[in-house]
Symmetry: C2
Subunit: 414 residues, 2 copies
């Protein structure tokens, strides 16, 4: 009897998890490695930062997912290095041999070289960052309510969101609803006119990747909700308390949220993988890394060579790529050739606030209530775990019917 092959999957995001699941019936042992013991449902991360839902409601314990899968094991450690020649993955405490490797490490924020951006902004790409941002926003309100100096108070209550893509639009809307809704009731001594939510987009419209109609609708909606939207507003520099724009104007603030700019995680370059200027691994159409037929890269980390329009760095791409990479590994194990990846675009959705969203599905565009209902349905359906769905649904309903956020706790630092 031959020794069973080992497939190592690095990263428990959408790409990694769907790789793992698709390997359930393959004739190999699968080891999933992630530094957290949970999977995060990224599309709702912005709602954690806006104190709409709890962190635990959009994560799922990895080991619970693994219970159903006989051939899978989990290691909670950070991957420090990959040796592509010797087929080894190195973590803090061990060195693991792989026969096949699927890299699904995701992405990190990219600051386009804007001075001060890395130091003075809040990114919104991990659960840790979402909780940090939520705590910071609540602290600003706590401080402002006791601040006698009107300039300082104005600064504490100014929240700038950089990036008019889906995340920026969704977060700006959620933040406005938080600030002008529940927080106005909580901070009775504050004048809610002093609260400013500003959305900056460098291009001349919101939601640049989507039809113009959706961008215009989003702008109108957000403005109605009290968000100051500036398009064609490229950021030149970010100081400790000021955002300076290319046109020379500036905004005095305490909080800048950075939702634009994404790149592959830095480590992979040092491991000798071929990356583009954004640090993403340039894969073959089969998602294999050139020169290493046993190594795959999927999701945000991977970039296909001859895409006319680059694929967006979103969950559906990662899910589909994770599935195909796993199927290709199974094909290789069975002596077959891997197949090229073909993205099936099911559409794009963004929620803007209560009863309003934008959607592009099946070649049609929708705005308003229908798009919002679609967004709610798709997100609830895709969230992993019945408990999570139930709890998120309760929180949303609470917010919807009582105009109140269920939660606004400054989580203790541990």
């Amino acid at each position: 009897m031959t020794k069973r092959l080992r497939v190592v999957v690095v990263g428990a995001g959408f790409g990694g998890l769907w790789s793992l699941r698709s390997l359930a019936h393959s004739d190999a042992d699968v080891l999933l490695i992630d530094s957290n013991n949970y999977h995060t449902f990224f599309p709702l991360l912005y709602q954690v930062a806006a104190a709409e839902i709890e962190p635990e409601e959009i994560v799922f314990p990895i080991r619970k997912l693994l219970r159903k899968q006989q051939n899978a094991r989990f290691l909670m450690e950070e991957v420090l290095a990959v040796d592509l020649i010797a087929h080894l993955v190195k973590t803090q405490t061990r060195i693991i041999h792989y026969d096949y490797l699927i890299l699904a490490l995701g992405s990190t924020s990219y600051f386009f070289g804007v001075p001060g951006a890395a130091e003075h902004t809040f990114p919104l790409r991990t659960m840790e960052q979402a909780i940090t941002l939520r705590n910071h926003i609540l602290e600003c309100f706590e401080q402002a309510t006791h601040e006698p100096d009107p300039n300082m108070r104005q600064r504490l209550l100014t929240f700038v969101v950089v990036g008019g893509g889906p995340t920026g639009v969704e977060f700006a809307g959620a933040l406005a609803e938080l600030a002008y809704g529940p927080l106005r009731k909580d901070y009775v001594d504050l004048d809610s006119h002093e609260v400013k939510v500003v959305l900056l987009e460098a291009m001349d419209r919101l939601l640049p990747g989507l039809p113009i109609k959706l961008g215009n609708y989003a702008k109108k909606r957000l403005e109605k909700m009290g968000v100051e939207v500036h398009v064609g507003a490229a950021v030149k520099e970010i100081g400790e308390m000021t955002v300076v724009l290319i046109d020379g104007s500036s905004i005095h603030e305490q909080t800048v949220v950075w939702t634009t700019g994404v790149r592959g995680v830095q480590q992979v370059e040092t491991w000798g993988l071929p990356t583009d200027k954004n640090g993403r691994v340039e894969v073959l159409p089969t998602l294999q890394v050139p020169g290493y037929p046993e190594v795959y890269a999927v999701g945000d980390l991977a970039v296909l060579p001859d895409e006319q329009h680059k694929l967006p760095m979103v969950a559906p791409v990662a899910i589909q790529q994770g599935t195909i990479a796993a199927q290709n590994v199974t094909r290789q194990i069975n002596g077959q050739n891997p197949k090229p990846f073909q993205y099936r675009n099911r559409g794009v959705l963004a929620a803007i606030g209560r009863n309003s969203g934008v959607a592009q599905v099946f070649g049609h565009t929708f705005t308003g209530f229908f798009a919002w209902i679609l967004w709610v349905t798709v997100h609830l359906f895709n969230l992993i775990g019945y408990r999570n769905r139930l709890f998120v649904l309760i929180d949303w309903a609470w917010d919807y019917f009582f105009y109140d956020r269920a939660v606004r706790i400054l989580l203790p630092k541990t």
Copy 2:
């Protein structure tokens, strides 16, 4: 028109919160000060540590409580000092004058001078500590599952609970249910016989303050659940990986949870308040601090002089004292004399595990299912907030019907 008087309440636990509420109709401004923006329901803290419920489900935003109370304001800061002569409370950023002061700062762990106890044990008295302990327990299992050395693995899987009072009994039970239930399913490579939960009590029986029948029942129940119960087992010393008992025996471990020993918070001594050897403020029967008729101490922090049996440091005492202190302040404002405090003991309850608990109510003792149902009902009823009640109920039902914990996430450090 005379200037309105100001009552400052320090601490948003049970004592402080009920003080605040009882001052709602008094003719004074009330300022509540706490370093957290939430109230914690301490009786369920041990369930957070045992990954049974989420942190957010047993806390409540203070500002939401204040919405209903016109005369109340909140300051989220730590009180650094109190000047009893000048009637001032000092925080990081401001100095606040008070006409009346209610101190409800609670208690902290006391280690009875046991060497190593302060350094090498996990206390279970704040939300922060509960989350830290939960993360630590889950990390021990993660490490153990990849640990080849059986001695090291045994150490990682040994959890010692010091103190056979209600908290120790409840936590040991909840931990055993976690370890032998959901975690056994999560860590399929671990032999669950290697997991050891040990409960140590220095006295010759569990639940020393309650009738012997209850202590015996708790011991039998816990042993049936797989907990190793040692009574008459006083701790001599705690090292980095070993608990040494007075009789010379020792236990090799990675985790000691300290549930015994409570004292008043250290700061108050430096503020010139009269304290006993446990750092608790010795108050008059009216809960006033001797020599300072405008200063009250309530809850865990306060100790009445001529109690034959000292009052337990539990929520009902704090609630009743907070209420009386507030009423006494109102009486003083109205030119009346403060009234002495009289504790109305409604009983003691402890849950041991699924379907079993102990209760002493109305002079009767109960064990088993009825006591457990009583415990569940009383705790759900007393939890603040409908959302919290609903979510805790769902989590409990989930656990009850599916023999599974809803949550076991290693919360990110922020």
